[in-house]
Each structure stands twice: as structure tokens, then as C-alpha cells.
């Protein structure tokens, strides 16, 4: 990092406190209003453009999704789902990408100090030069977002345009969205605005409209307004209650202190056993007797 950050909430694989002097920063959030998205993919283009990403131009796989999946060079993709609700066909379009969890599983799993950081404003950012390519972040993520680049074996994902945000601009996808379906601001403001949208949707017959800000990961800094907030799975399998896998929590949680105790105990046992009992010698004179 060429510029010094003093507003880091969490830093991967770092047991001590990161620099936090600027913690008064307001939490930011990107709000994606699925109900006003037209699926134009301008956000995908803007993302590639701003971040200087040039993914390979893929093939049409029979549906609108293109690229077909997130990759190290496609940090956001539109997911198109067809479903029947209330006897009508619905075409649900969701902009997929990093959710910037308040409790990021990627950061929890990462073994490399400072390869993943969470800023005070809530943005979770990969510092790719510290990435060792182990893929632990992929196992930590409840949303299946990080991708390892085949070219350099480093993990990448949406940065929420942390470079733009740090100088007071909105992310590139927000800037470019032609319908205003993507908004950016303080998390508080975005929740307020989302409520307006939800109320509006309810008057139009979407009784289960709501905000997607899953608490299982402490809330997210990318939120959705969904017409069917009771069935987020409709939106290309968006998880209803995403959480860091309990397996990852065991691995990165209780196993550490337990194994520390175990290893320390075996070393200390050996040391004090030797001090207490002394070496176990086979007496030479016994051999002499026999001889």
C-alpha cells in the first residue's frame, strides 16, 4: 500500500489491533434495488472499465448471463432467474458480487497477515500483493464470491471501489447505472431509502417485499431490495440465512486454543519428565556381567 490507512477495523491473520484512529467513519453501503434493475449490464462494463479488468470474452451459454460466472477478472455479474410467482412469469435480475459482510468469512479464514482488510467504513478489501493463493477465503465466504486468478494464483473480488470511495466518489457501478437501481451512501441512509422502496413495492402487490441485509454475517455493506424478500433463493440461489460455515468457525476458532494447549502440554511434559526422572539408561555393567 502506498497510502497509509489509519481506518482499518480488521486485518487478516493479525492478532493485534490494526490502526484505527479514524474509526469515526460512517459505514457505507451499496443498495441494489432489484425491482428497478433492467439487466443492461452497464455495471459490469463500468466495473471492468474502472478497475482495468479485461476478462476473456466468453460464449453465450443459452441464457443472458455473460460472463456465466464471477471470475478473477469479472468482479460483478448479472444473474438472471425465471420464476413463476402469483401465476405470472417473473424475470428476476440480481447483480451478484461481494457483499462486504460486517463479519467477513474470507478475512476470518485468510492465513496471510494483511492480505484481507476491513476498513472502518465497512469495505472488505483484498490486498492482493499479500495473497498467497491458498484459497482459504473461498472456503470462508458464505456467498461464493472470491476467485483465484489462474494467471497469478491470487484471489480477487469486488473492492466496492475502495479507491473511489476513499476520495468521496461512489463505486463505478453506481455511477453508471442508468435506472438508479444501484445507490450508494451511508448504510443508515441506504436503509432509509430501502424502506421507501419496500413500502412502494408493497402498495404494488409485493406483500413480501423487503430489504436483504442478512444478520447471520452481521449485516452486509451491499444490500438488496427484493420483491420476494421471504424467498431470496429465487434470485439465483441467494441464501436465506447466510453464515460463515460452522466447519470454518471450528477450524479458525476453537481448534487453535485447543491445539496450542495440546502442543504446549506435550512439550512441557517432555521437559519436566526429563527434569524429574532423568534419562533412561541401559546399564553397561549389566552387559559386562553377561559377557
Amino acid at each position: 500500500m502506498s497510502l497509509q490507512s489509519q481506518d482499518i477495523l480488521r486485518r487478516s491473520a493479525s492478532p493485534t489491533q490494526p490502526p484505527i484512529a479514524r474509526e469515526h467513519k460512517a459505514e457505507v453501503a451499496k443498495l441494489i434495488d432489484v425491482s428497478t434493475c433492467i439487466g443492461c449490464k452497464a455495471c459490469q462494463v463500468a466495473c471492468s472499465e474502472w478497475n482495468d479488468l479485461r476478462d476473456e470474452v466468453g460464449n453465450n451459454v443459452g441464457v443472458y448471463d455473460n460472463p456465466a460466472d464471477l471470475s478473477a477478472e469479472s468482479w460483478t455479474v448479472m444473474r438472471y432467474s425465471e420464476t413463476e410467482q402469483n401465476g405470472k412469469l417473473e424475470w428476476l435480475i440480481r447483480k451478484d458480487g461481494c457483499m462486504h459482510c460486517a463479519e467477513p468469512g474470507c478475512l476470518k479464514a485468510c492465513p496471510s497477515p494483511g492480505a484481507i482488510i476491513q476498513y472502518a467504513n465497512g469495505i472488505v478489501d483484498f490486498q492482493s500483493e499479500h495473497c498467497i493463493g491458498c484459497g482459504y477465503c473461498i472456503s470462508g465466504c458464505p456467498f461464493n464470491v472470491p476467485r483465484i486468478n489462474q494467471k497469478d494464483n491470487k484471489a480477487y473480488k469486488c473492492t466496492l471501489c475502495s479507491d473511489r470511495v476513499s476520495v468521496g466518489q461512489e463505486p463505478a457501478c453506481v455511477k453508471t447505472c442508468p435506472t438508479g437501481a444501484i445507490r450508494f451512501g451511508s448504510k443508515e441512509d441506504m436503509k432509509e431509502y430501502a424502506q421507501e422502496r419496500v413500502d412502494e413495492l408493497k402498495t404494488r402487490g409485493y406483500a413480501n417485499a423487503g430489504l436483504y441485509d442478512p444478520q447471520g454475517v452481521g449485516g452486509t455493506h451491499v444490500m438488496y431490495v427484493l420483491h420476494h424478500a421471504d424467498q431470496p433463493e429465487l434470485y439465483h440461489g441467494l441464501k436465506k440465512d447466510p453464515q460463515i460455515s460452522p466447519v470454518v468457525s471450528l477450524w479458525k476458532g476453537i481448534l487453535k486454543p485447543l491445539s496450542t494447549i495440546g502442543l504446549a502440554a506435550s512439550v512441557l511434559f517432555g521437559f519436566f519428565h526429563y527434569i524429574g526422572v532423568g534419562p533412561n539408561k541401559a546399564e553397561d555393567d549389566e552387559e559386562e556381567d553377561k559377557a
Binding site: P15, N153, V248, L255, L263, Y274, V277, A282
Partner: protein, 209 residues
């Protein structure tokens, strides 16, 4: 002083095999502990850079597995647990006080237990290690399986490290043992005291002392 009376315990091939596995283990433990404990991350410097440590670790792992597999097929038939071993295990406190228990063959109950524990750990480590190996194999496995593999890999590695600490300490504590794995020989006194049945087999001595 009369010339020492020695018994051959390990051939040169066995010793080289053992030390290849041992060196692999040390490299793997250093890099593995670095990936597990943030406070030990600096140990990746042993390999040059952290990413190099991550790249090298699985290849060394395969080498260790192959080396251990050779050892397994050398020693498995010496490691069936018998009545004398049970007696040994039940009196482990006496053993730890420095008094031998039971008519022990080539290996005692502790060594046999260690052998099977190492075998189990190595099997878990190689299987889970392949599953989590990026960028080559992890893509072929579902994420739920990778998560479980990561947990089991760490768990069995830690069990193995604790086991090896005991293994190394036992070799230091029981004087004359390290020589068996360095020079290949032990003294008659050592064999008679720690492995009496093996001593009789090796010397043809019929007397139970």
C-alpha cells in the same frame, strides 16, 4: 574397556528412508504451523516468501507420504499389538518412571500405538491435502467438502505434530535410541532392557532374563 557388543537395528536404507520422512515432516510442520497460527506466519520465510511456502508445502507432503508409505510396508508386521503390549500400556506410569514392563519385542506398546497413529494421520493428511490443493485439485471438489478437508487437515496435522514431539522426546529420553536411527546399531544392554524378546530373537539367547 572391552569392545561394545552391538546389534544391528536399522539398515542404511531404513535410516535414509526415516530421515527423508523426518526432513519432510520438519518442512511441513514449519509451513503448516505458519498457515495455522498467524503468530507463526513468519516461519514461511524459511521458504523464501509466503507464497513459495504455500506452493512447496503440498509437494513436500506428497514426498513425505511416499516415504512414509515405504516405511509402513517395512514395519507394519512388527506393529500388531499383543498381550505384552497391553500390559505395557496399562503400566505406562511405571514405564515413564524408567522401569520396563512386559516381554517386549521389536517395538513396545507406545511405539506401536505411535505407528498406527502416524499411519492414520498420514492417510487423512494426503486425502484432505489433495482436496484442498490449489490450483490443481481443489476445483474438482465441492466447497462443503473442501471446508471439512481443511478442518481435518489441520486437526490431523496437529495430532501428528504432538505425536512427533512425543516420538522425538522418547528417543532422547531412552538413551542409545538415536544411535539406532543414525548408526543403525544398539547395544546388547539397550536391547535386553527395552526389547527383551527382540534381543533373544536377535541373539538366539533362550534365557528369559
Amino acid at each position: 574397556m572391552s569392545k561394545e557388543k552391538l546389534i544391528k537395528r536399522y539398515s542404511a536404507a531404513e535410516r535414509i528412508n526415516h530421515w527423508i520422512v523426518a526432513v519432510c515432516f520438519v518442512l511441513l510442520a514449519i509451513s503448516g504451523l505458519a498457515f495455522f497460527y498467524p503468530a507463526f506466519f513468519w516461519l514461511t520465510g524459511v521458504f523464501g516468501t509466503p507464497q513459495l511456502a504455500r506452493i512447496v508445502h503440498p509437494f513436500v507432503g506428497v514426498l513425505m507420504f511416499l516415504g512414509f508409505a515405504r516405511q509402513f510396508f517395512r514395519y507394519w508386521h512388527h506393529n500388531f499389538i499383543d498381550k505384552e503390549d497391553i500390559k505395557w500400556m496399562k503400566s505406562v506410569k511405571t514405564v515413564l518412571a524408567g522401569h520396563e514392563v512386559g516381554d517386549i519385542g521389536k517395538y513396545n506398546g507406545g511405539q506401536k500405538g505411535m505407528f498406527w497413529m502416524m499411519t492414520g494421520c498420514l492417510l487423512v493428511l494426503i486425502c484432505t491435502g489433495v482436496i484442498i490443493w490449489r490450483p490443481y485439485f481443489a476445483y474438482y471438489f465441492p466447497i462443503e467438502l473442501i471446508r471439512v478437508a481443511l478442518l481435518l487437515h489441520a486437526w490431523s496435522a496437529l495430532a501428528l505434530i504432538a505425536g512427533i514431539i512425543v516420538h522425538v522426546y522418547a528417543a532422547i529420553w531412552v538413551r542409545g535410541t538415536i544411535r539406532a536411527m543414525v548408526e543403525g546399531v544398539v547395544t546388547h544392554a539397550w536391547a535386553k532392557k527395552h526389547h527383551p524378546r527382540w534381543y533373544r530373537e536377535m541373539t538366539g539367547d533362550k534365557n528369559k532374563s
